[in-house]
């Protein structure tokens, strides 16, 4: 099981801030495809991946990164701090 977290408008579109996902996805991109296939709200959130960032165990990562050993995946828009 992987903890999947959503922030900002990704969270709003999916309607959840956190869930546990049973997945055999090898990479982040594979996990995204699994989620998109579930329901329209996931497809809407991940429609434009250029607008989505990902962190694996709280470190920024790329969509082709492997998920082996990862416990926490987070999806969110580009950051706007400061």
């Amino acid at each position: 099981m992987i903890d999947v977290l959503y922030f900002a408008w990704v969270r709003e579109r999916i309607g959840l801030s956190k869930e546990q996902v049973e997945s055999s996805a090898a990479t982040v991109a594979d996990l995204v495809e699994e989620l998109k296939a579930r329901e329209e709200r996931y497809a809407a959130a991940f429609a434009d991946l250029a607008a989505v960032r990902v962190a694996l165990d709280q470190e920024l990562a790329e969509f082709d990164a492997p998920l082996a050993g990862v416990r926490e995946v987070a999806f969110f828009p580009p950051m706007t701090g400061g």
């Binding site: 706007t80 701090g81 400061g82």
Partner: protein, 148 residues
């Protein structure tokens, strides 16, 4: 080197005063504060963050600044939650023997925390609410710190 992530307001002047006091080792202290700006009709801002990752990201950015410049100290405070126009969102302060390093390190901290620390701003006004979009210019600003 200190990093604080908090919902509560903080006193920018008091933080700067405490940071700068008794520093015989540093001839230069630079500080910056980010304020909630009302471009017209902003009622409030809500800042969401990623607890855990936020602190790690800010620590990493502060450590990197300390590696690149001969800083005697640096301080980063960033708030989350609801803020009104005019409230202080965040601050950085740097202390170094000479001002060029203190200025450069403060700019570096700002450039990195704007697009590498997991914060997201949502603005609420008379016309409803909207997430603040990241600016291409903020991403490009990181390019000038490339060590390659």
């Amino acid at each position: 080197m200190r990093v604080r992530v908090q919902a509560e307001p903080f006193d920018f002047g008091a933080e700067c005063g405490a940071f700068a006091s008794g520093r015989a080792d540093a001839g230069a202290v630079v500080s910056f504060a980010g304020i909630v700006r009302d471009d017209g009709g902003l009622a409030r801002m809500e800042l969401e963050h990623y607890p855990g990752m936020t602190e790690r990201a800010l620590q990493r950015i502060a450590s990197e600044a300390t590696r690149r410049w001969p800083l005697r100290d640096c301080l980063v405070i960033h708030r989350f939650g609801t803020m009104l126009p005019g409230e202080t969102i965040m601050m950085v302060a740097t202390a170094a023997p000479h001002r060029a390093d203190a200025f450069a390190a403060a700019e570096f901290l700002m450039d990195y925390l704007k697009s590498r620390a997991p914060f997201w701003k949502k603005e609420f006004g008379a016309d409803g609410a909207a997430w603040v979009a990241a600016k291409d210019a903020d991403e490009k600003a990181l390019g000038r710190w490339s060590e390659d």
